[in-house]
Each structure stands twice: as C-alpha cells, then as structure tokens.
Point group: C2
Chain length 494, copies 2
C-alpha cells in the first residue's frame, strides 16, 4: 500500500489501483446486475459536466437532439449484414412482456408464457437500425438534408469481462446519426466530429489523443471507414476514446432511404454515426490520477476549490469562517465551484486526504495565524505543492491557477505520450519495447490480418490505428518481411 | 377541418386534434416498435428545457444525480409484495443475452438457446428495487442520512393502448429516491417534492394543478401514501402530472436497509420516491394549444421569437435583413432565443402558419414600409393579436411581452380550471355535469372501493385525489347514501 487510503500504488498494481480508486473516490461501483454499474453521485457529476460541454459543441456545430426507442426489432438488426454479425453475440433479448405468479411457488414470479412476443426485441447495442428505419420517412428530398441528429442514451452490449467505466454491459453514451446528399459531405461530417472529439479530449479532459483510422478488421460493423481517437494511459496501454464512422450508403440501402436530388433523380442517402461514452470517465481517471487519488482537470471537477478551516476553538472557527465565506463568495462570483468544508467531527489532515482522493484541483487552508498575517495557504492537487499567498489577492489568483493546472496536467500527459511513440524495425525490438516501455509502437505491417492476429496472440498488442497524415514509408513487415507502405500504431489496449 | 394544417378542431374531435397536433408540430411520432415513440428534435428541445429547469430545482433542494442499472433481477421485484403485484403485468423480460444465425434460414437470427439467463432480467418499470438494494450498502449510520438522489432515465411499462407522450411503453422520466432517519423527515421530503412539482407545473408549464392525495386503491405499488398533482385539460379531462410517494419502511424492510441511530440503536430507514415524465409534454400541449397549433409558455419554447422578413426584391430583402439581424442580436443579448426566417422559397403567409403551428410565442414581421416608418409588426401567438410598434422600442418591449404571455396562458388555464370544479349532491347531477361540462366534480363518496369501481364502470370517471387541506364536511355518498366525511374529486382522466 502506498497510502492510507487502501489504494495500491500504480507501480505495484496498476489494474487494482484503478479499480480501488474508482470505488474509493465514490465514482462508481458494480451493481447486483452482472456487468452493470452504478454511477455514484460524485462520478455522475463529472459525467454531467462532460455531457453539458459536449452537448454545447454538438449544438454549435448544427446538431439537434432527439430520442429513439430502446428496443430494436430483431428483423431490423438482420437488415445490414455486417452490422448484424458485429452485434449479434452481445445482445440482450426481450422475449416476453409480462410476468405472472409462479403457480409452483408462492411469492415468485415467472415470465407469462402467454406473453411471448411474436418477434423478439433487442435492447439497443447502438441505434443505426432503428434510426435509419425512421429516416426513411423523414427524408424525401435534398431539402431534407443534411439531417444532423444526436441522441443521449443508454445502450447494452453483453460483456463477459467488465471493468467499471471501461467496459460494462450497460453504458451511457451519445450517438450522432447524420444523413447527407453526397459522399463528400458525409466524409466531411465524419471528420468534423472526429476533430470535435479530439479537441474535447484535449481541451476538456486534458488528454492528448492520436487521430487515426481503424483497419478494416477493427472498423465498426456496418461502416465503410471508422475514424478514432486513441489516448495513452500511464501504464503504457492505449484506450480508444471515441469513434466516428463513415457509413457510406450501407444503412440507406438496408432501410431503403432514398431522396430526390436537386436534379430530380433518386439517390441513396449517405450516412455517418459517431459516439463517445462513459468510457471517457475511465480515460480521464487513468490518464491523470496518481497514488494519492484522482487528479481532475478543473473544467470537469465538480468541486474546483475546497476551503478547509484550521481552528482550535469555537471563537477561532467563527473568525476563520467569516473570512472563508467571503473568499467563497468572491470565487463563486467568478463562476468557480467552491466547497467550504466545516464538518466539525473531522481533523484537517483527514479532510486534506479526502479532497486529494477526490481530485479537487485547489485546496485553501485558513487558520487564525493566517488571519493575523493576512495570508492563506494555497495547495494544488496536480503537483502537490503549496504556497502561502496574501489573502487580498487569492480570489484573483485562483482562476489563473486553475488554468495553469489544466495546462500542466495536459502537458504532462502529452510529454508522456510523445515519449511513448516508439518506431521499431524488428519483431524482437517490438516485443522488447512492449515489455519494457509500452506505449504506441510504430511498425511496418504487411496488411494481412493473419499477421495482425499472430501479433495479438503472441504479444497482446493490437493495431490501434493508422494516424491521419501518416507519412508514406516503404518498408518490410516486422513479422513476415513482406512489403509495407507505411507504419501503423500498435499497443496493448483497454 | 378548422384550418389548412390538417388538424381537426378541438370541438370537433379533441382526441384527434391532439394526435395530429403532436405529429404536425414535429413533436413526436410512433416508432416501428409497438408502443414506443420517437421524440423528434422540436419535441425533444422542449423536453430538454423542462429537464434543465427541473434539474436545477432538484439541485437547489439538495439532491444529486446518479445512475442505476436498466435491468432489475426478477428476484428483486419479488421482494416487495405490493410492488411486484403492481408492476408484474407490464414488464419487458430479458431472457437471453446472445443471438446466433438461424440454422434454418440464411440471414436470420435467433436467440441462442445456450445464452438463456439463469434469472430473467426485467427492464426497469421504476427503480425502487434496484436502488434500495444498493442503498443497503450505502447506509450504515444516521450520518449517511438523508440520502437525496435523483436519476434521469428511460423506463418501460408494457402498455396495450398507447398515446404519444401520455401513455407509451417506453418513456423518459426522472425518479427521485431518498432515504431518511425518521418518518417525519421522509413525509416532509415527500411533501416538499410535491410542492416542487406543483410550482414547476404552474410557473414553468403555466399549468395550474390541484395538489392532493391518492386513495388507497390508486396509490403507488409499494407506497404508504401517494401525493399527486392533477391538471385539467381543455376537454374537461384530468391528467395526473406528477406523483410523490411516502414509502414508509416498506423498501427498507424488503431490502434490509438499516442504520445505527444517533442513540446507537438499529432502525429501518424511511423512504420516498417521486417522478415526473415525458407525460408532462402531453399536459403542456393539451392544456394550452388551440385549433391553429401549439401554444407554448415562453420559458419552454425552443424559439421564443421569430422574425419574418417581408420583401419583393433582393434589395428590399437586404435592407430588411440588416435591420432584422440587429433586432435579433439585441434580443439574444437579453437571453431570448430568436430565429430569423429568411428561407427564400416560402411566402410570409406560409411561414406565419408554420410558426403558429409550432407555438412560437412572438412573431415579428418587418418590411420596407416598416423601415420607412420606423415601425415593426408584433404578433402574439396566445391571443392571436398584433400591433405595430416603434422599431426603436421593440427590443425592450419583447421581454415584457413574453412575461405577459406566460401570465395570460396561466390565467386562462386557471380560470378554466376554477370554473370546472363543480360540487354535486346526487349521482344524477354527477352524471349530468360529467356529460355536459366535465372537469373535476367534488362529491361525497362512502370510502368503499366497490362504489368507486361502480362509478368508474358506469361513468368512466375516477377519483383523482383528495385535495390537500380538503375541508371536513359530513355528507352522504351520492351513490349508496352511506355516510361520508369529506368530498373527493372525480373526473374522467388520461
């Protein structure tokens, strides 16, 4: 144990560090329903901030929210072949619509056999099928395009091995579904939303990401091309943080969505879809936090500043409180969320540790000596440094400090990430870098999925993406020696 | 038909008027999944405003949001007997977690028999069971109380006869679930949230409501007492717009949720739950709208002001546009949402009708003559009046006008409601009022549910509630002549 919070050190057991941190910081916990999580108030408050900030960006880029049914008729899923194959194995299936008293056991219920559905309903693993079936009625003419819609929803993909936020059977997400008159417009939208996600990750989560394209084998079931953003965690593992899919005319074909062009001809509609999920919570936690607890970028912290009073008597507390509330009010006026922690049964040291665990970016401590000296102690969570500042300037100082904390967190993650993209020229070197250093490895690959599968089986590393703007570079596959046109990025990944 | 929008007049067919209005105003439509609706962008924009405004009130009253699983294990539902009985008949049941290729038909899928769940999962009809099972681990001591949590979620209750917003198999809602150390505190919370709902209905939806208590037969399955708010629609039917339940210790007993009191003893926790749903959209639409379309209170209107240019040439349009954009900017600065409708393929009359249908509270029309005269035409949706005002004052005038529109809509609904609470003293009079006037009928009832059932069978009217602060009044039941302590409110209801 590296601390008194019951959380192992990252170096000791990164995986357990994450699991314990998520629980101890009150972010989420496993529910009694296998694979499903409970998002606790403190974790949900962070997710709400992500939602609100992303939602604003979606609206600023011309999208509207709507809501489509939770259930997908089985026959809808069958319509796009690749889509069906991709999702069939992880579908929760509703077969009955009523329970009745169990005739064999008092107080127990059974699915009423008389309520069996003619056609099973699938709990949506994603909504392309149900949405494109709806778009058929919404789109007649080029005047109805583009159609730019987003949905905030829960989805279910049955998972055998789950981890809080990173992989759960039910998760929360947003899914954008757009329809366009031309291929070029649809590709432009796919790329626009990739960049929206990348900027959101960098400017809001303070997590640098690589923008790239998935290989054919890793693309979304039903897409022509899948774009992705890939982040790097502190243990050198990658994490796919968002995807944006160019769907071509696949779903338009499957659901017969046609429109009259400006020239009066009939054409199939072009589509995109794109999504990020509560998985971003996992990325946020893993990218920045340390052995003492969460480290949160100030823009997503539910509490940005905590003020802890130091006192030995009621009189001292009264004096300190008067000053603390003044500072709190001033900071709140500047739009900063502040908690004054005057719980009287806990010692300051306990409070310091708790707010450290919860990742509050700035901690102010104020005692009677500070009042006498006109000072206040200002501690920043990210660097664990503290300084004594004049009371009179603290309210002006904090906004600057919060911005500096964001920059520091981002720069630290960026420096780590940039120093963990390693080009290698042989499979031995590849394995060695993977074991000793981790991170992204840029290597030549022959484009054969059998080779990629072999690499995965032998090393657990997968192709994360082909970065946008990847330079052409002739070489030979590190495994087979066959020719290759460019390096691709490998990593072990969540 | 009363208009050229394809919507019947209210007087002609109120029910069809509602159905067509919901579709024509682009609020929602039936989906391909039986009983489930698609909430379209314009409808969702109104729901989002309701959500944001309610969410702020919940937070201001000390509640935090969290998220609990979509699925409820069947055995959880069985634990509270009344709860199980109340919901068993409308449960969507998940029995399998995987599909596989149908061996008998290429391209088709079947639920994989090998993926049958040991225990069926119910798609939540409400979350008391799953939440109280979680609370058992969250609550140990009086220090953990009160626990004040809200969830925004989708729920599923299988309905045989559905109507958009009013009764759908899947709907969106919020459900508050709180836990308290004492009975008095729990009742106080139940009543607090009832008043929150009532004020929200009145101040945000502009819908006056009666605050009351449900009879034993109509209370929530699992509650000790159900409080409700009841609104009156323009056809004289009532609509239950929100409920707040005092759960007693029922769920604490069922899920063994105990806490150590301040005195060191063990006690069962007291609970409440409360919810409003997308049903509020139905109340909003039915309470105010007219034969020309939606009438929206300005605070919930996605577009509060529309500006329509009047012009015959490109030059005129350019002049008008310059002025219109100036007004738009000024109004936006005041926090008002404005749409400048310069679509060039549509005539002003068409635009007027469209924005009338969509319920935009204020319409400004601006032409070259207005520019010459320094005037602008201001039309209000609620009264369908218009006036010509000086251009220079319009930006100051609009906020006042929006407030006046809210007040007018509310007052109109209140006047209607107040004139439709009719005391009757005989069953004949009851039937006559029901047929000729509708609304709430205050009548004596003997407290016997057989009597209530007979009244329902014979008249389709049900007991809506016993209003809070209902005066004691000795009388005799209008049906049986047996003694009664007070009048209760009857109505036909959605």
């Amino acid at each position: 144990m590296s601390n008194n919070k019951g959380i192992p050190a990252r170096a000791e057991n990164y995986s357990e560090w994450y699991n314990e941190l998520v629980k101890k910081a009150d972010l989420a916990e496993h529910s009694a329903v296998k694979g499903c999580m409970v998002i606790k108030p403190y974790g949900y408050a962070i997710w709400e901030k992500m939602q609100a900030q992303l939602d604003k960006i979606f609206k600023d880029t011309g999208h509207s929210n709507a809501y489509f049914p939770l259930f997908v008729p089985k026959s809808f899923l069958e319509k796009e072949e690749g889509h069906a194959e991709g999702f069939a194995k992880e579908c929760a299936v509703v077969t009955h619509y009523r329970l009745k008293a169990d005739p064999n056991e008092k107080g127990k219920l059974i699915a009423d056999p008389d309520s069996r559905l003619d056609e099973e309903l699938i709990v949506r693993p994603t909504s392309e099928a149900v949405i494109w079936n709806t778009y058929r009625n919404w789109i007649q003419s080029y005047r109805d395009l583009p159609l730019l819609i987003n949905q905030w929803a829960n989805v279910v993909r049955w998972e055998m091995r789950t981890r809080l936020f990173l992989r759960t059977t039910e998760f929360l997400w947003q899914e954008g579904h757009t329809a366009h008159a031309t291929k070029a417009e649809a590709i432009e939208e796919t790329e626009r939303m990739l960049h929206v996600y990348a900027e959101f990750a960098e400017k809001h989560l303070a997590v640098p990401v690589i923008r790239g394209i998935k290989t054919e084998n890793e693309k979304f079931a039903g897409a022509e091309t899948t774009y992705c953003i890939e982040a790097l965690m502190q243990n050198g593992w990658a994490l796919q943080a968002g995807t944006s899919h160019f769907l071509g005319q696949n779903f338009a074909k499957a659901f017969d969505v046609r429109f009259t062009t400006r020239e009066g001809t009939q054409d199939l509609v072009w589509g995109t879809s794109w999504g990020v999920s509560t998985r971003l919570m996992g990325a946020l936690i893993m990218a920045h936090s340390d052995d003492e607890g969460l480290v949160l970028p100030p823009g997503l912290a539910p509490i940005q500043v905590v003020i802890v009073p130091i006192y030995r008597s009621e009189e001292e507390l009264a004096r300190v409180t008067a000053q603390a509330l003044e500072i709190k009010a001033e900071l709140q006026k500047a739009g900063i969320s502040v908690r004054y922690d005057d719980r009287d049964t806990l010692r300051p040291g306990f409070k310091f540790a708790e707010w450290e665990l919860k990742g509050v970016p700035v901690r102010l401590a104020l005692g009677p000596k500070d009042l006498d000296n006109g000072t206040i102690e200002v501690a920043r969570r990210d660097l664990k440094t503290k300084e004594v500042l004049p009371l009179a300037t603290v309210a002006q100082h904090v906004p600057t400090l919060l911005a500096a904390i964001h920059d520091q967190i981002y720069t630290k993650a960026l420096t780590y990430r940039d120093s963990h993209i390693t080009p290698v020229n042989s499979y031995d070197e590849f394995k060695q870098v993977l074991e000793t250093k981790g991170g992204f490895i840029a290597a030549h690959w022959d484009g054969d999925f059998a080779t990629a599968d072999r690499i995965k089986d032998e090393t657990k590393a997968t192709i994360r993406c082909i970065p946008l703007g990847n330079p052409a570079e002739l070489g030979t596959c590190m495994v087979t020696g066959r020719p290759s046109q460019q390096r691709v990025l490998f990593a072990r990944a969540y």
